[in-house]
């Protein structure tokens, strides 16, 4: 058992074991539960870090066994999986800290944290999956482990949102299963391989391969919230803040986008997908989602709903990035996977702080919140400007890379999409920032809670601060080695034979 095999399994096991232990814990043992949670999160981060370091040195981590005749369960750590695993590892640690503070005295915490770590285990599984089948396995586990989190509150609205969520995701899963089974029937088991498998596939397969691609994208599009399949996301906002932060910034939404990245890069191969004419269709859908998401966000009154629609539009940047055939554009799309995660989780943390400390859920209740909670408001402002793409923050790097990538490949309309969506982002984020800083507080806060000297509990204030620092550094130090942009470049160089 060389360490090469051990690490991916260990990384997966930490959160799995943590969830089992937490489930067994009785409700009242808060201290132990927090300890286990943080320990598991820290351990996982260390393991992922070691793997990232190993992969940078060119080592290979893979474990595989035959699950069904002709079907292999493969866990493989490569540069692309480390991007996602690293992101989810870091943000899980922060969200756990946040969740401990957020659910201070609410019921069902054993259940919550159990499914919480199960959800992260499946996210890591999605990241480390070595072939389409293993990806599907963890993809579905992710659905199951996130349902209890969405309905955690147990209110009527939460249950309805949960029902919607299940209908969307399970149907997507069924379509995905159909596509994978069909693909498996056609060409047998497909490990993820740089450059994909269908570079020079014969004529007969073109028809079915196109249909399979559409099915795959539809199945993955549900979680990546591409337009026609995005209905569940805004409704799932009824979940508690750490859930919507981790799910909609990192776990669920990114699993869909990550799946699309895997399919386009390592199953079909960018050149093959382009040859089949699939990428242009995908690009159009992604572009439409970007604009649609931003336009819908304009009209939302509830803060978290606005952030949800913003997520819908931002995730499609990643998908759009894939369709820019040039290495620069693709790297831009990939790095946005990390940037959007950091920026969006900051915004959700702040939204959660406002809800938890001042009882604010609607945007027009935010007047004067800047004075009452300066730290959170600074984090929100920086996150908002990052989303708009204002330099020198992370969002700008993505837009810059994608823009120049699109121009080198001659897809000028992408620049127009980027500009229009940035305008729309500004249109729905800046009024909120205005209310934070420049509007006077007219009515008293709906449910104000005091925490002595700090504006809110220490557990709630530190995670957004840390993610804000990441957000600024990811933008400012984009050219450093081991920065997200640099790692995306490494991925493109290794994994994507353009």
């Amino acid at each position: 058992m060389t360490t090469g095999v051990l690490l991916p399994v260990l990384a997966l096991m930490t959160s799995l074991l943590a969830s089992v232990v937490i489930f067994a814990l009785p409700e009242r043992m808060h201290g132990v539960r927090v300890l286990i949670n943080l320990g598991a999160a820290g351990l996982k981060l260390v393991l992922v870090g070691v793997m990232i370091w190993g992969i940078a040195q060119g080592r290979e981590y893979e474990v595989a066994f035959e699950m069904l005749p002709g079907l292999r369960f493969v866990l493989r750590a490569d540069a692309l999986s480390m991007l996602f695993a690293g992101l989810s590892g870091v943000l899980w640690l922060l969200t756990t800290i946040y969740a401990v503070g957020y659910l201070e005295d609410s019921p069902n915490r054993s259940r919550f944290f159990g499914f919480f770590s199960l959800c992260v285990a499946s996210t890591t599984g999605v990241a480390l999956a070595g072939n389409l089948f293993t990806f599907f396995l963890f993809y579905e586990m992710l659905t199951l482990s996130t349902y209890p989190l969405v309905v955690h509150r147990g209110t009527e609205k939460a249950l309805k949102a949960g029902r919607n969520y299940i209908i969307y995701t399970l149907t997507g899963g069924a379509v995905l299963l159909l596509a994978i089974a069909w693909l498996h029937g056609l060409v047998g088991d497909l490990p993820f391989q740089a450059g994909g498998h269908f570079a020079d596939v014969e004529e007969a397969l073109h028809g079915p391969l196109t249909i399979i691609f559409v099915l795959l994208i539809a199945g993955l599009g549900v979680k990546a919230a591409l337009v026609p399949l995005h209905g569940w996301l805004p409704q799932a906002m009824v979940a508690p803040a750490p859930v919507s932060a981790l799910l909609h910034a990192v776990a669920v939404v990114k699993a869909g986008a990550f799946g699309i990245v895997r399919v386009v890069f390592e199953v079909y191969g960018v050149s093959a997908a382009h040859a089949l004419g699939l990428l242009s269709g995908l690009a159009v859908v992604a572009a439409f989602t970007i604009i649609y998401g931003s336009v819908r966000a304009l009209y939302q009154v509830d803060l978290k709903k606005r952030l949800a629609f913003s997520t819908i539009s931002q995730v499609s940047y990643i998908v759009l990035g894939l369709c820019l055939l040039g290495p620069v554009g693709v790297a831009g799309g990939l790095v946005h996977l990390v940037h959007q995660g950091i920026m969006k989780i900051t915004l959700f943390f702040c939204a959660g702080n406002y809800a938890e400390t001042l009882g604010i859920h609607r945007i027009d209740e935010l007047d004067g919140a800047g004075r009452r909670m300066p730290a959170t408001s600074v984090a929100f402002t920086l996150g908002a400007f990052g989303m708009i793409g204002a330099p020198p923050l992370a969002g700008f790097i993505t837009k810059w890379k994608m823009g120049s990538g699109a121009l080198t490949v001659g897809m000028d309309w992408v620049v127009v999409v980027l500009v229009v969506s940035s305008l729309l982002n500004a249109a729905y984020f800046l009024p909120v920032v205005h209310r934070l800083w420049f509007a006077e507080q007219r009515t008293p806060w709906p449910q104000e809670r005091r925490w002595g000297r700090l504006e809110t509990s220490a557990w709630l204030i530190w995670p957004p601060m840390v993610t804000t620092v990441f957000l600024v550094l990811a933008g400012l130090l984009a050219a450093m080695p081991f920065s997200p942009l640099n790692w995306a470049g490494l991925i493109v160089m290794r994994e994507v034979a353009l």
Binding site: P69, L71, P107, S110, M141, T155
Partner: protein
């Protein structure tokens, strides 16, 4: 050595049945635990023996056929014997803690339980069609007895309905066997198959196969003939309904599958295969729809059995004159479906029993707040649900995957719709139960917490069913054990 193993398989259950008849329920419990352990050992012994020497024919007590009973032991039979050992053992252990010893008529539980187990072993190992009929009758009568243990009028009505349906089914099957014997002069299944292969006796009209399959379908509660199952499985005590749903229903299907696989090519027809597949598909859709609409928790699980049985009948169209590899794939899919359904359904029924015991009412919407105070049983119910939905990594998923591949390879793409849509529908009724349990009703915990070990058994079964997907490879290798040339003693 094989003598002891075979004797252990068939005669010890009968002996245990008589022993437990003499003692009451309380003492019967100890004897049964011993018996369960013995049966498990014997089953494992059989499996070890078969893996070493390959499948064989075994004339019971040395009497040669056709008068003597000849048993046929191959990979498929061994898999089912092991499955029975696991599920029946678990249900027996659960029943011993679950059933209330004070009730006088519960003392008949153990004898019926052991008769049932003996009948099952006869059916798995039997090769002679008439012996299979006797085995079937033994199973049916003991199952009816177990259902009647409920004691109220409702339970008795369900038992009677079940009895009549089962008897009718057996008679149709017997009629088919009689006509077969009239044509071939032999009752051993492999003998008939040999005659058909060698072609010296030309095949019979398809009506005989229809008769036999109609009888067996009646006993397996296939879609149009399923009316008796939900009341019987719904009203019986949960360990009993677990046994019924997981094993008894599969016995008649096992015979139908054996007949179809051995002689289906000659005696069956493409139309018959497609009809059975279509009925299976309809069962999946209709069963799931009704399961979604039931108010009572155990009725939901019962109708879910009707739906899941539908999947099994996809075997017939997928193995009718298709290439060897596809047929093997379909058989593997069917076996995995049987195993995973048996484990998951028994886990679900036992968990449902625990939930009803602690909630006090058998309605689904009475489950409010359960996820907060009874997370463990709800979790085992959930895991079993995951396997029923066929989500990875459960055994249900592996079965669905193999059936998907088989239907794709054989070009019958319409079964894809049944498989995928069925998965979604089963998700519908499982999540309906989840939804009810997540409703926050009160802050105070006024649920009755059953004995810890009562909750452990369904969890073990659920985990087995969930893990089945990961260990599908070795399980299927057991099934693939072929006959050794010698057919040794």
């Amino acid at each position: 050595m094989i003598l002891w193993v075979m004797a252990g398989l068939l005669f010890t259950p009968l002996a245990w049945a008589v022993l437990t008849l003499l003692t009451g329920f309380r003492h019967g419990r100890w004897i049964s635990w011993l018996g369960i352990v013995l049966q498990a050992l014997v089953s494992v012994g059989l499996w070890a023996f078969v893996t070493r020497d390959g499948g064989f024919y075994y004339p019971l007590g040395g009497w040669q056929s056709p008068l003597g009973i000849e048993l046929r032991v191959d990979g498929l039979a061994v898999t089912f014997v092991l499955l029975t050992a696991v599920v029946a053992g678990a249900c027996g252990w659960h029943a011993s803690l679950y059933l209330d010893p004070e009730k006088s008529w519960h003392r008949y539980f153990w004898p019926l339980f052991w008769f049932l187990w003996a009948g099952l072993n006869v059916v798995w190992l039997g090769d002679d069609l008439f012996n299979l009929y006797v085995g079937l009758e033994l199973i049916s009568l003991s199952a009816v007895g177990l259902v009647a243990l409920g004691g109220q009028a409702g339970a008795l009505r369900a038992a009677l309905r079940y009895l009549l349906a089962a008897l009718l089914g057996s008679l149709f099957y017997l009629l088919g066997v009689a006509l077969l014997y009239g044509q071939f002069g032999s009752l051993s299944l492999s003998g008939i198959a040999g005659l058909l292969e060698s072609g010296d006796v030309e095949s019979v009209p398809v009506v005989i196969m229809v008769l036999m399959l109609f009888g067996l379908a009646m006993k397996t509660a296939l879609f149009p003939l399923h009316k008796w199952l939900p009341p019987a499985h719904g009203i019986a005590k949960s360990p009993v309904s677990a046994l019924l749903s997981a094993l008894v229903v599969k016995a008649s299907f096992y015979i139908a599958a054996r007949v179809w696989l051995e002689t289906g090519h000659h005696m069956g027809g493409y139309a018959l295969g497609q009809l059975l597949g279509a009925l299976g598909g309809a069962a999946v859709i209709w069963g799931s729809w009704l399961a979604f609409r039931q108010e009572k928790l155990k009725q939901v699980v019962a109708y879910s059995s009707v739906a899941q049985i539908g999947y099994l009948f996809l075997l017939f169209p997928l193995t009718w004159n298709v290439s060897e590899t596809i047929s093997v794939q379909a058989q593997q899919g069917m076996t995995l479906q049987v195993i995973s359904h048996a484990l998951a359904k028994s886990a679900m029924f036992l968990a449902a029993g625990n939930l009803i015991l602690s909630v006090g009412s058998n309605r689904v919407d009475a489950l409010a707040g359960v996820s907060r105070f009874l997370p463990f049983s709800l979790f085992s119910f959930g895991l079993a649900g995951v396997s029923l939905m066929g989500l990875p990594p459960s055994g249900g998923f592996a079965a669905k995957w193999l059936l998907l591949q088989a239907s794709l390879a054989s070009g019958q793409w319409w079964w894809l719709a049944v498989l995928l849509f069925g998965g979604l529908l089963s998700a519908a009724y499982v999540f309906r139960v989840y939804r009810a349990s997540f409703v926050e009703k009160t802050d105070v915990d006024e649920f009755y917490h059953p004995h810890r070990s009562l909750e452990v058994i369904p969890m073990i079964l659920a985990l087995l069913s969930l893990g089945l997907g990961l260990v599908a490879e070795p399980v299927l290798s057991v099934m693939a054990i072929s006959f050794s040339e010698g057919g040794g003693l």
